[in-house]
């Protein structure tokens, strides 16, 4: 059952379309990462879900209730901000207590001085204190409760922000790049912690990030947004191995996927050097198409019978692997390959190499970006044919 569902959300600012009809469903306890380049609308979408911004059209349903017209405070969503947005004048403990106090105490009970005289507030306040302490203990920040945000490190502030968001058990959890202000080591560590907290709380989470490795490593499903469109929503593996759009393929993966332009004839056959692919569609005439191959599926070798020939231009040593930049002789385009250090030792800049592509790993895209399904023709037989 889906806890959060978005139907066809659109939003534009001053004539610029920021969101062009985004739909999404999050199930119980699901962790969805919204990933995309900056300006793709992912943060705007999050703000719309939170109720901090209004969609031009579309529907938001949280826990079976349409909330498009409901104020942010009444949607029962919690959010962790990139800047943490802790109240600078309150201690960590008071910060965490705010959402509880706002919900449990009446307006009169919250009044300074007079509120202390109201009946029943003492019991509620004690209860809130107990919960704050429990939350802080589970996040290992109980020793920081009396400190103000200005006296804490980035990592500590981030935990306090998490605690403030989690303490009131929201029905949806929103996170807007909560790790981007941490240093690299802490960020990797915090990833694991957030995933663990998410598992324990079991609350559906929308996690906005521009960092693809964060998205792929943390999420149950990844939603790739580009230019205001949600291009694909799938598991990390599916989205990496089987992208539905060239932009998705380009955005995910480091180094970036190799994209080469070629043509498809009327029968749906695509030739790329000695590689021949049969597309699952037919077109009335010859059309340009794009072939995408991830660098790890590009093989370089000294053999003369690869599908293409290239010359090595540059290598980047990354420890466990080496990135090789080469230029294809035939079309003058660059191709990037990921090879092991052992093989890389045999490669010298300027050396001619043969390039092979793992045939079932080559992906076809229309020039507009949509994925074309390909039935790969055996490369060897294609090669034979080329020779014959």
């Amino acid at each position: 059952m889906s806890i959060l569902s978005l139907h066809n959300i659109t939003k534009s600012f001053g004539g610029n379309a920021i969101l062009r009809g985004v739909s999404l469903e999050a199930g119980e306890g699901e962790f969805i990462a919204l990933v995309g380049p900056s300006g793709c609308g992912k943060s705007t979408l999050l703000r719309i879900v939170a109720g901090l911004d209004h969609a031009d059209s579309g529907e938001i349903v949280i826990g079976g209730r349409a909330v498009s017209a409901v104020a942010a405070a009444d949607r029962n969503v919690a959010m962790v901000f990139q800047s943490y947005a802790l109240y600078p004048h309150l201690t960590a403990g008071q910060n965490i207590a705010v959402p509880l106090a706002m919900r449990r105490l009446t307006a009169a009970q919250r009044l300074p001085f007079i509120g202390n005289l109201m009946s029943g507030q003492r019991q509620i306040r004690a209860d809130i204190q107990r919960q704050v302490r429990e939350m802080a203990t589970s996040l290992k920040i109980d020793h920081l409760l009396d400190r103000k945000p200005g006296q804490m490190s980035g990592g500590q502030r981030q935990r306090v922000a998490l605690a403030r968001a989690m303490v009131r058990r929201p029905s949806v959890f929103l996170m807007d790049e909560p790790l981007s202000n941490l240093d690299a080591n802490l960020r990797i560590h915090a990833r694991g912690e957030i995933v663990e907290l998410h598992r324990r709380a079991g609350v559906p989470t929308l996690y906005v990030t521009h960092d693809q490795s964060e998205a792929l490593s943390m999420a149950d499903r990844v939603a790739v947004m580009i230019g205001g469109n949600l291009l694909q929503l799938a598991s990390p593996q599916e989205i990496y191995d089987d992208p539905a759009h060239i932009e998705v393929a380009r955005f995910l993966g480091q180094p970036r996927i190799n994209v080469m332009e070629t043509r498809m004839d009327a029968s749906g056959t695509v030739r790329f050097g000695a590689l021949t692919l049969a597309a699952d569609c037919v077109s009335p005439r010859e059309t340009p198409v794009l072939i995408g191959v991830r660098p790890e599926f590009v093989r370089l070798g000294a053999r003369a019978d690869g599908i293409l020939r290239a010359r090595i231009e540059r290598t980047e040593f990354l420890g466990s692997e080496v990135i090789v930049h080469a230029r294809l002789d035939a079309i003058g385009e660059a191709i990037v390959a990921k090879v092991g250090p052992a093989q890389a030792a045999t490669l010298v800049v300027g050396m001619p190499v043969s390039v092979d592509i793992e045939p079932d790993r080559a992906m076809l895209f229309a020039v507009t970006g949509e994925r074309l399904r390909a039935k790969t023709v055996n490369v060897a037989s294609a090669r034979e044919k080329a020779r014959g």
């Binding site: 109720g51 947005a85 109240y87 705010v98 706002m102």
Partner: protein, 278 residues
């Protein structure tokens, strides 16, 4: 060698600054001196800074006995406090809504605030006077306070300060369940103390020292503010008793000087934080 030249430069700068300070302080110093002189010495042809005969006690006794100094000071405190309170209560929600809420008239209102900054009290004095007269509220605290209760300067100053408050903080407060009023009271004001302190100094100094408006609306001595009281003192009681007059002036300037010295650190902080340093 360099150390030597720096010392000379330093001495020069120090001298220049001291000279400037002395120049600005000269009238006040002369006032302190005159407050301690006897009538005959003030009108003598020689000019000395240190009184020949110390008549401080005499002059202060005169100043305190001839006018009701406590009433003047109390009026000053009441009027300044009411004005400041009203200004803050009006300006903070105004500035918050213009800085952080999106609505169509925001730009137009901003223009109005800017225009408001350009209109001096002297331009509106006459219509206000006529209106207060019709309402029969001349000679009251209301007449002294009401025209200043909405300060466009305060709105402008707080607006600049609030714009620097991160939007995320406001968003977090909304998600935590606060109403807009709650956000102003619980998040904005506690973080705006430097701006409020800076504005307090501007406001209190201006209205404590204001002579123009009290002169227009107050003829009853019971509502006289300190500068107006001095005027009465000079006209009616002291005549040409400048020693006593200076003593009285000294008394009414003391609260402000004391307040500034106490709040000096916060004041400088507030000015630098609001970006008014220019």
């Amino acid at each position: 060698m360099t150390a030597h030249s720096i010392t000379i430069g330093r001495i020069l700068r120090f001298c220049l600054l001291s000279l400037g300070a002395l120049l600005f302080l000269a009238p006040y110093i002369f006032m302190i001196s005159t407050a301690g002189k006897a009538q005959s010495e003030i009108f003598s042809s020689s000019l000395s800074l240190v009184p020949e005969q110390w008549s401080y006690v005499e002059n202060f006794v005169k100043a305190l006995s001839r006018v009701s100094m406590p009433t003047l000071l109390l009026n000053g405190v009441i009027v300044c406090a009411l004005i400041f309170l009203a200004q803050v209560v009006v300006a903070i929600p105004c500035a918050y809504s213009m800085a952080k809420l999106k609505f169509r008239a925001a730009r137009f209102m901003m223009v109005l605030v800017m225009l408001g900054l350009l209109v001096p009290i002297h331009a509106t004095a006459l219509p206000l006077y006529v209106a207060f007269d019709r309402l029969a509220v001349l000679n009251s605290y209301a007449a002294l306070v009401a025209p200043f209760s909405i300060s466009v300067f305060a709105i402008f100053l707080f607006l600049q300060f609030f714009r620097a408050i991160p939007d995320d903080l406001i968003h977090a407060a909304r998600l935590d369940g606060m109403s807009e009023v709650g956000i102003v009271a619980r998040v904005v004001v506690p973080n705006a103390w430097p701006a409020i302190t800076a504005f307090a100094i501007f406001s209190v100094v201006a209205h404590w020292n204001d002579l123009f408006w009290p002169l227009v609306v107050v003829t009853n001595q019971n509502y006289a503010t300190p500068p107006l009281g001095l005027l009465y003192f000079r006209a009616a009681e002291a005549g040409d008793d400048y020693g006593a007059l200076m003593a009285a002036t000294l008394i009414i300037t003391l609260p402000l000087i004391a307040a500034f010295l106490i709040a000096q650190k916060r004041f400088v902080e507030g000015i630098t934080m609001t970006g008014l340093k220019g």
